[in-house]
Amino acid sequence: MLFNSLSFIVFLVVVLILYYIKILSWTNKKRMLLFASYVFYGLWNPPLIILLWISTMVDWTAGNRLAKETKKKRRKFWLLLSMFVNLGFLGFFKYGNFLLENFVSLLNIIGLNFEPQPMDIILPMGISFYTFQTMSYTIDLYYKRTQPAKTFLDFALYVTFFPQLVAGPIVRAQDLITQFYEEKRATMNQFLWGLFLLTIGLFQKVVLADTLLAEVSDDVFGTSKVLHGLDAWVGTIAFSGQIFFDFAGYSTCAIGIALMLGIILPDNFKYPYAALGFSDLWRRWHISLSSWLRDYLYIPLGGSRHGIIKMYIALMLTMLLGGLWHGAAWTFMVWGGLHGTYLILERLQKKYLPFKITAYNGIFLAFLTFSCVNITWVFFRARTFEKAWHMIQSMFYVHTEGEKILGNFDIIKVCTVIGIMFLCHWYMRNSSLKEFARGLPAWLFGVFWATLFFLIVIAQGHGEQFIYFQF
């Protein structure tokens, strides 16, 4: 079920009514939320709920054993079992076709002709998100960084909680399970703020991403023509805005919906396009994933504890695997590799060419970071290396005779939206939406809210899937 759909509006209203009527005890409310979460997921593809159940059962069992077991070998066994099941599902469903294709290519290179039957594997929606979330539970228990869930219901709800089930934020056990222990009710202010977050999240998705940016990005990345430099840049920045508004929109909706239930989810985006460098970017973009990769991959790989060279290797491996997490294609690996390279270059710059960031050079540095990020988006969005390479060549004006496919209005529209987005990120980079709202008179905030709502309704949208559902 998509947040930007009519069925979700009905679903949410029913859930809220059941949640706030007084006939259900807190345990029954949690049961209702769990059932609703399975309905939310199952309305997409019912049989794939079984994967969620298996993941839940395995990690619940492994978690309990890890909490009780004292012998190191046995503890390791339960951790490895949890990782084997979770990564096994992820590997089969997400990377099965990719691995097979590469295996076949490898055989063809060495002269063996092998044509396997296509596997036609369905990618379960959100598998990367809930897999990482449940794995964090068992890993944290293994390192004794968290307590096991008190009841199976609490744990199952942690794995399946519908607002963040299919596209995050990826929440740690201690941040979410503990919230289920005592009855939660949103205060009126929390409920209304949650409703506002849902509105602004839908505005980002339906109006900004789908209505204003998606078509230009699709046209540019979908054409087989060699493009004029301006078209390549505009298409790329359109995608850059589209993916931000799409994903940040989803996270904002998720946080808002949870808040309407009195549950607090962590922020996932903090104005990332105003980042001053790439370390700053990853503290602001998809925060729940980047912190997951830091805690469960980069640090176990050694982090900065074993010298500079090993740190760079750990950094690059983390970013490459982070790229692969986004999709089973080599283009995603290149995207991750570019970010890894940026991070290494930034550390070298800080060591050998340090300079002070001031109010004057800050916006220039933010713009430079944003421009470099845009180059990486080309590899993220292009379906083939050939397309990505043509785009990069066009962006650097190698193709002076490239074709113009975008109209003037489209260029103005995209540049205006992206320009406003960049400036908003810059001015808000050390602030928050709540602080911004606090500074407005009630009537003006009401007018702003009504404008968002009106634009969502007239844009309508066609229930386009969120981009990150495929990851």
Binding site: L6, S7, W44, N189, L406, V457, I458
Partner: protein
């Protein structure tokens, strides 16, 4: 932060703005209507899955969709029509779906629009892609999508500004379409001529030409302008060999399992008729197809009563003439005993 006050202001302003938007479009002459979208198609396709008896299936493009009036067909033949024609598309993907994914062996009426049927078999070309998209959606649609459709029907049929179409021609009042009509000079060549919608469709995909197109010549002319634009554009030549072979193969499979195949060439006029006569001469396309497949065939040019029918925008019959065409076609089919079911006097 006084959120309660802000919420009340937002709710009042939001409802007022949407009401004003609806009133504005109604004043502009826009009426609520259903869109001919993938959900309507999938619902009809689902009927075929239930192995219905006494059923006639129609496939093709928009001409047979507009020209066969399903209520009349039902009344006069006592059969249940299932309309699976897809606008702007080749019938080949739908025919393939019926042949491969169902055991339907009843009567299948194929509307032949030469420029679409003989265009291509390349899956990504628009005439193929549109039809393939419908079949894929039917196979893959989720329960959530089914519920969304059920919920959207009352909105579409009661609010003028609500649209739920799949194609660019379905939308005319949503924000994206309104913005797409703004053009500042012509950097990437002349902008496409805006397409004005002319659908009036029911949940059973019974399509009628709306009265405002029949009665308002200037409105019909805006649609003709789009046809002129499309017909004058550079296009790849028809792929007669591949399309003919694909259709023949499907037709043979279908008739061998006992299916009754009927080909119908619906009327066209004006520029369409001229272009079709030049680009798809009857003796090179229609006649060859009819000879290749074991099917009964009916070309509108062979019947005096189908001459001089009124096609307000050259390609589809007005509602009144579509009823005449349907009634007369049924008469011809009965006379020739072309459909076993409709020869039984009930």
């Amino acid at each position: 932060m006084q959120l309660r006050q802000s919420f009340i202001i937002a709710a009042i302003l939001g409802v007022t703005a949407i009401t004003s938007w609806e009133i504005y479009w109604r004043c502009q002459g826009v009426e609520p209507y259903l869109d001919d979208n993938k959900d309507l198609w999938a619902n009809q396709r689902q009927r075929l899955q239930k192995k219905p008896k006494n059923t006639i299936v129609f496939i093709g493009s928009s001409r047979i969709l507009y020209d066969i009036q399903l209520d009349l067909w039902r009344d006069l033949t006592h059969t249940e029509p299932i309309m699976l024609a897809v606008q702007g598309s080749s019938p080949i993907p739908i025919f393939e779906d019926i042949v491969k994914n169902t055991d339907f062996a009843g009567t299948l009426v194929v509307g032949v629009t030469p420029a679409l049927l003989f265009s291509t078999t390349f899956p990504k070309a628009p005439p193929m892609r549109r039809a393939i998209a419908k079949v894929d959606y039917f196979k893959n649609r989720t329960y959530a999508q089914r519920i969304n459709h059920i919920l959207s029907v009352p909105l579409q049929t009661n609010l003028a500004f609500i649209r739920d179409g799949d194609e660019a021609w379905d939308s005319d009042v949503d924000l994206g379409t309104l913005l797409s009509r703004i053009h500042i000079s012509e950097r990437a060549g002349p902008p496409p001529v805006p397409f004005n919608n002319f659908e009036e469709i029911g949940l059973d995909r019974h399509m009628k030409m709306p009265e405002y197109v029949t009665n308002d010549t200037s409105y019909a002319n805006t649609i003709k302008a789009v046809w002129k634009d499309i017909l004058s554009a550079d296009r790849p030549p028809p792929d007669k060999t591949a399309t003919m072979a694909a259709f023949e193969k499907l037709a043979n499979t279908f008739t061998k399992r006992g299916g009754n195949l009927i080909l119908v060439r619906c009327p066209s006029s004006g520029l369409f008729k001229e272009v079709e006569a030049k680009g798809f001469p009857r003796h090179e396309f229609w006649d060859v197809l009819v000879n290749k497949v074991n099917a009964q065939s009916y070309h509108y040019e062979d019947y005096p009563q189908f001459q001089n029918l009124f096609l307000p925008e050259w390609s589809h019959l007005s509602a009144e003439d579509a009823r005449f065409f349907t009634r007369e076609l049924i008469g011809i089919l009965k006379a020739e005993k072309a459909i076993p079911q409709i020869n039984i006097d009930k």
